[in-house]
């Protein structure tokens, strides 16, 4: 898809990030993510994988190097980017419907268009029945669905996810993984996904980037050529298990570096 002349969705050129205390989180990272990719970032803690997301979203600025998102600076590209945080970050005083509509509301979309869009999204993520419930009445998995629906409401071209399913039990996590792929097949966004789970990364991604810590650098890359659509049956396929083993091995090496 990303032939010559096509602008990459995300481009890191020699990007470094130091914190105020002199600690280097990322050191001269080069990384290009093409449109339509689903890239998972995985690595031991301290490898700066969450920092990569912060930099792409413009919530943090690099200490050195250059970042382009769809050919623009991260802040200018925000209109087409959505962020799903580790916690659902719902507003407890708003109903599910009002939470899903929040991103559109902030961008000044009219009420009528908002209602239409949120209605469609609630159907898409299977939350129609709890549209008027408040977040505290929902389970962790449902809250995360609301958070994802809110992120998708603005029809982003790039979706950044920072360990969105880390707090869920394995059943809900697997289920939401399948849901996420279904949504992606319908909406065609590019994804950058931070996770601690190798099996999750293999299941979801078209490419896995393994990072190493102290300072954060790209250690290895694994293209994932498993066919789509991916269903739960994939989790027992031999090629899936081989890839999980390879990535786990690389992850162990990255940690001991």
């Amino acid at each position: 898809m990303s032939g010559a002349g096509v602008v990459a969705e995300v481009e890191f050129a020699g990007v470094s990030k130091h914190y105020g205390d002199g600690q280097t989180v990322l050191d001269a990272v080069d990384l290009t993510i093409a449109k339509g990719e689903f890239v998972s970032l995985i690595g031991p803690s301290g490898c700066g994988k969450s920092t990569v997301l912060k930099l792409i979203s413009g919530l943090a600025t690099p200490s050195g190097g250059n970042i382009r998102v769809d050919g623009m600076t991260p802040k200018n590209a925000r209109e087409t980017v959505s962020f799903v945080f580790q916690d659902p970050t719902l507003l407890p005083w708003r109903t599910v419907r009002e939470n899903v509509g929040l991103s559109l509301e902030l961008e000044g979309v009219s009420r009528a268009r908002r209602e239409k869009k949120t209605g469609a999204l609630l159907d898409l993520v299977g939350l129609r029945a709890v549209a008027d419930a408040y977040p505290r009445e929902l389970s962790g998995g449902m809250k995360m669905r609301v958070s994802i629906a809110r992120a998708l409401a603005t029809s982003p071209r790039l979706l950044l996810m920072d360990e969105p399913f880390a707090a869920l039990d394995e059943m809900s996590r697997d289920h939401l993984n399948e849901e996420l792929l279904r949504l992606r097949s319908e909406q065609k966004w590019t994804a950058v996904f931070v996770t601690h789970s190798v099996s999750e990364a293999v299941f979801l991604s078209t490419r896995i980037v393994v990072l190493r810590p102290n300072p954060g650098r790209v250690y290895a890359m694994f293209p994932v050529d498993l066919p789509h659509p991916r269903t739960s049956a994939l989790r027992t396929a031999p090629e899936y298990e081989t890839l999980v083993a390879q990535v786990l091995h690389a992850l162990r090496e990255a940690r001991s570096q």
């Binding site: 919530l59 925000r78 945080f85 970050t89 507003l91 407890p92 005083w93 929040l102 902030l106 408040y134």
Partner: protein, 263 residues
């Protein structure tokens, strides 16, 4: 519903026991009525002087409510300024502590000297004493918003106005109510204290504080007890009003307000 009825029944039973104990003490110790009147005498005093008791109650209620509402308006305003920057908070926050620690009985005479005796100066005293908890709690609510929520708003290019009205202010409402709950109780205390110094603005009648002074000087101990009782009822009414409002505004989404319960 049933546990609430039980709570009410228990509270009434304790009240009845206390009244009975009071009467028994009188019988055993033979206390003269001007020292400790019987419950029956107090009840008679309430019935006989109900109109003037109601007037005093209304005057004090008005002053306390005036003080509370103005401290709410000013306190939220100050908190909004405090929420703007850490520097402003560092510079000005110590003065709100001053507001909280200065003994109201010490500044009440000053305020009366400056503003003049009357309901306005009493309301001003109630205002001063209830301001600090409103400022402190509202500021806390405004600045304690989770970082990722702010990031979420920034990701969708939220304006400072949207950040304030759609995130910080609604987030501060539960803590604001904590402030109002504290302030409501002390606004009544402030008003009664103020009245002890201010006396009556209207000839012949004044708020509960003034009437308490007057009744004690006249050794009308039964009426004094009735006034103390009225002051308690006033404090309770404020407390329950705030509890109800808190429940009304928060019960749908906030954990603390799911069931109104007396602490």
């Amino acid at each position: 519903m049933k546990p609430k009825l039980m709570t009410l029944a228990n509270a009434l039973a304790v009240f009845a026991a206390l009244v009975a104990l009071w009467q028994i003490v009188l019988w055993i110790c033979r206390v003269p009525p001007y020292m400790l009147p019987s419950p029956w005498a107090v009840a008679r005093a309430v019935a006989a002087r109900l109109p003037s008791l109601a007037t005093s109650f209304a005057i004090t209620a008005e002053e306390a409510l005036g003080g509370l509402l103005s401290s709410l308006a000013v306190g939220v305003g100050v908190a909004l300024v405090f929420a703007q920057s850490r520097w402003v908070r560092r510079m000005l926050y110590p003065y709100t502590l001053l507001l909280q620690t200065v003994p109201i009985v010490a500044i009440a005479p000053l305020i009366l000297m400056w503003v003049g005796a009357g309901t306005a100066s009493v309301a001003l005293i109630a205002f001063i004493i209830s301001l600090a908890p409103i400022i402190a709690n509202t500021t806390q609510g405004l600045v304690s918003v989770e970082e990722n929520l702010v990031h979420l708003f920034l990701m969708h290019n939220a304006t400072p106005r949207q950040l304030l009205f759609k995130l910080r202010l609604p987030h501060a409402v539960p803590s604001l109510f904590v402030g109002i709950r504290i302030a409501s109780g002390i606004s009544v205390i402030g008003a009664i204290t103020g009245e002890l110094y201010a006396g009556s603005s209207r000839v012949g009648e004044g708020g509960l504080g003034y009437s308490i002074l007057y009744a004690s000087s006249q050794l009308q101990t039964d009426y004094l007890f009735a006034l103390v009782f009225a002051a308690t009822v006033l404090g309770f009414s404020f407390f329950f009003l705030v509890m109800f409002l808190e429940w009304y505004f928060l019960h749908r989404w906030h954990e603390s307000a799911r069931t109104p319960e007396v602490e």
